[in-house]
């Protein structure tokens, strides 16, 4: 056990930090922010990803042969920390970088990797995820979207839901049923679908925060070349499980952790500044307990990530343990934002756009976002079942 960094790791950090200082506009995250308009924000994020790539800071942990720099896990951790510390924008192509890439590196053909990976890295092609359907949420394996093999193409019909960023996506990683007779887990395939293919229609889904990150996606006789099948036909379920484990795992969580930490620091600042007569919110022991609990829980989120990285270093693969990571942070973060509004007292309801809103109303928006944490990437109920059955070995 060793929390110190090697000189090479320290150099890596310094190099990145210097690059970020130059690449981001002056005052970024303090006086200069992402645009409020959703589309403009999305385009800004894509531009940022392209800038990262141009600077050689994209896909740093990917194998060099696919355009990465083969960074170590430790460097990857440093990378996540530094980007978050600089309050760098999230990318737009999160699904491409984190999920599609991991899936293709492990399960794709060499020609799929060559075709897709470098364009993910460069930000040339953005991806969305077509897994859930209106009647296949927690019960994902009951998807009905059907892909009929017709010569060298699949013809896909069906409806997907919660396809994040589909409006900006060039490609979709899609789960479709390819065998109606087989048991439900055994008749599913994973396809790579060009979003420009005729027959695809999108309808934005407005979230409770008022934003439209999600979409409904309708597929009507959409033709997908057979070579865009990932893995074997009817073997898509297992591959999708790898994808989902990645979504729940430490790499995703570490980036989030640092953003939560930033919000928490802002909250502590607010608690020190919000005054009632002689005293500040931070002087109240009961609020202090809740703030301390948030500090403890968000810090442990980081430690969980580091332990998970360390297990990977030992060669342990992604698996059901990732559900523990996700279950932990989703509730820790929900508690954090409930506490945040509590700290604001009678100003808790003042939201972004109000001149008296604390910290520009960010906590109210984060509070609303946080309600989805225990739902997406598998609801907490699903995670608990996975942990119970696949980690603890309890009977079905």
């Amino acid at each position: 056990m060793d929390f110190s960094y090697t000189p090479a790791e320290t150099r890596f950090r310094e190099e990145l930090r210097a690059w970020l200082r130059d690449a981001l506009p002056p005052g970024w995250g303090k006086t200069v922010f992402e645009p409020e308009d959703e589309d403009a924000r999305a385009m800004g994020r894509l531009e940022w990803e392209r800038k990262l790539h141009a600077g050689g800071w994209s896909g740093i942990n990917w194998p060099k042969k696919y355009g990465g720099r083969g960074a170590t896990l430790v460097e990857q951790g440093i990378y996540a920390e530094e980007l978050a510390r600089a309050r760098a924008p999230e990318g737009l192509n999160i699904i491409g970088r984190n999920l599609v890439s991991a899936t293709l590196i492990r399960h794709g053909t060499e020609s799929q990797r060559e075709r897709f990976l470098s364009k993910i890295l460069s930000g040339e092609e953005v991806w969305c995820q077509g897994f859930s359907e209106p009647n296949a949420g927690s019960d994902l394996a009951s998807i009905r979207c059907f892909a009929q093999l017709d010569g060298d193409h699949f013809v896909v019909n069906g409806q997907k839901v919660w396809t994040s960023f589909a409006q900006y996506a060039n490609w979709c990683i899609l789960l479709a049923r390819t065998n109606l007779e087989a048991p439900k887990h055994k008749g599913i395939s994973l396809l790579l679908v060009d979003m420009r293919t005729p027959g695809i229609t999108l309808r934005p889904l407005k979230q409770i925060s008022g934003e439209c990150e999600f979409n409904e996606t309708f597929l009507d006789d959409v033709r997908v070349p057979r070579e865009n099948l990932v893995g074997e036909i009817n073997e898509g379920w297992k591959i999708a499980m790898t994808t989902l484990a990645a979504e729940r795992g430490a790499e995703d969580a570490l980036g989030r952790q640092i953003r939560f930490k930033q919000e928490l620091d802002t909250l502590l600042l607010a608690a020190t500044s919000l005054r009632t007569g002689e005293s500040a919110a931070i002087d109240d022991s009961a609020l202090r307990q809740k703030l301390a609990k948030a500090v403890v829980e968000i810090e442990i989120m980081r430690l969980n990530c580091l332990r998970s990285f360390s297990r990977w270093i030992r060669g342990i693969q992604l698996g059901p343990e990732e559900s523990m990571m996700k279950l932990y942070w989703s509730h820790a973060a929900q508690d954090l934002f409930e506490t945040a509004l509590e700290v604001l007292g009678p100003k808790a309801a003042l939201a972004a756009g109000d001149a008296s809103a604390v910290a520009g109303g960010r906590f109210q928006l984060s509070f609303l976002h946080s309600k989805a944490f225990s739902i997406y990437s598998g609801s907490s109920e699903i995670q608990r079942t996975i942990i119970g059955e696949r980690v603890l070995g309890l009977p079905k």
């Binding site: 409770i208 999600f214 309801a349 003042l350 008296s356 109303g361 609303l368 739902i375 608990r384």
Partner: protein, 391 residues
Amino acid sequence: MNFDFSAEQYEFRDAFRDYLARDYPLAAHVRQATDYPLATPLWAGLSGMGLFGMLVPEAHGGLGLGFIDLALVLEELGRSLATPAAADTLAATDLLVRYGTPAQQACWLPGIASGTVRVALAVAEDGAGHGLDGLVTSARPIAGGYRLDGTKLMVAEAATADLLLVVARLPSQQQLSVFALPRDATGIALRPHTTLDIGARYVEVTLSSVHCDANALIGEVGAADRLYDTAAAIAAIELVGIGQQMLRVAVEYAKQREQFGRPIGSFQAIKHRCADMAVAVDAAASAAYFAAWAIAESPHEAPRAVSIAKSFCGDAARAACNGAIQVHGGIGFTWDLGLHYYLRRCKVLETTWGDANWHRERVLAETLAEMGLQAANSATHLSESLCKLAP
């Protein structure tokens, strides 16, 4: 002793429930968010059913009922996310009935009863925390009346109110008092807030040298406290309504929605969560009804009863809102399903008129005072008696 409502009270509740469900379903909120204000027909409807006359004595054109009669109706107002202007007007009515001079009552109560006078409560201030202690808005005696200065936060629907009740501090005795000001008095400026609750409009009210005559002062000692307690009790009961509605919606969805070939409500994860919500919301109702009784019948018990209710109901309603979204899964996170309207209103009700922490602190202080116990340093003599309390 009977801790139940009468058949008439239940019938009255049912009439409001039917009206609100028919004329003011959730779809109305969706419209309201884009197409504001929608409150006027609602106001007329509620008024037509007699809501605003309930607390008004018959002599002033009302029904002469009490706060207990109102309780179940308030639950329905909460459940249907009715405009907070209704809550404010009812709290103001209670205050006028209890503390108003005959002249003040004659001036305002008939209009309230007939639905032509809406009242907004201007109490909270930036930097004042929860409760009244930190308020600094000043009322200075001038010839023939008072001059008010200060800025009030989160005043609900002030733009369409006729009357503002303003809590301000008189310099002489540092006493907090309540002043009734016409909304269009000179020196009153409004700035709209942007808030979490998109089903209502809240404004910041600035009072710059607002002059009023001596008759604007309502009651004396205790009026401001009464107003705060009544408003908190109303919020607590509305929170129960929200909690009940979220429970109902979650249970209905859990019965219909199928996953893994079964209704999701057949899974213990969902079933047991709904059960916990039901227990919390039902216990919240116990607390809220008792607070309503205390407000009506036992003023000396009211502060403690209200604080018990406001703290518990806020927590229960929050849990119910969060639970309902979780039971719905992804669809619960969509704007159009509309669960967020409840979540948003719930958060406003939780954090106005004292949050759960503030009310719990008051519960404890009241409890210790009743027991003759003091915090701090005067309790040494008790240590000995304690040792004897074996086992």
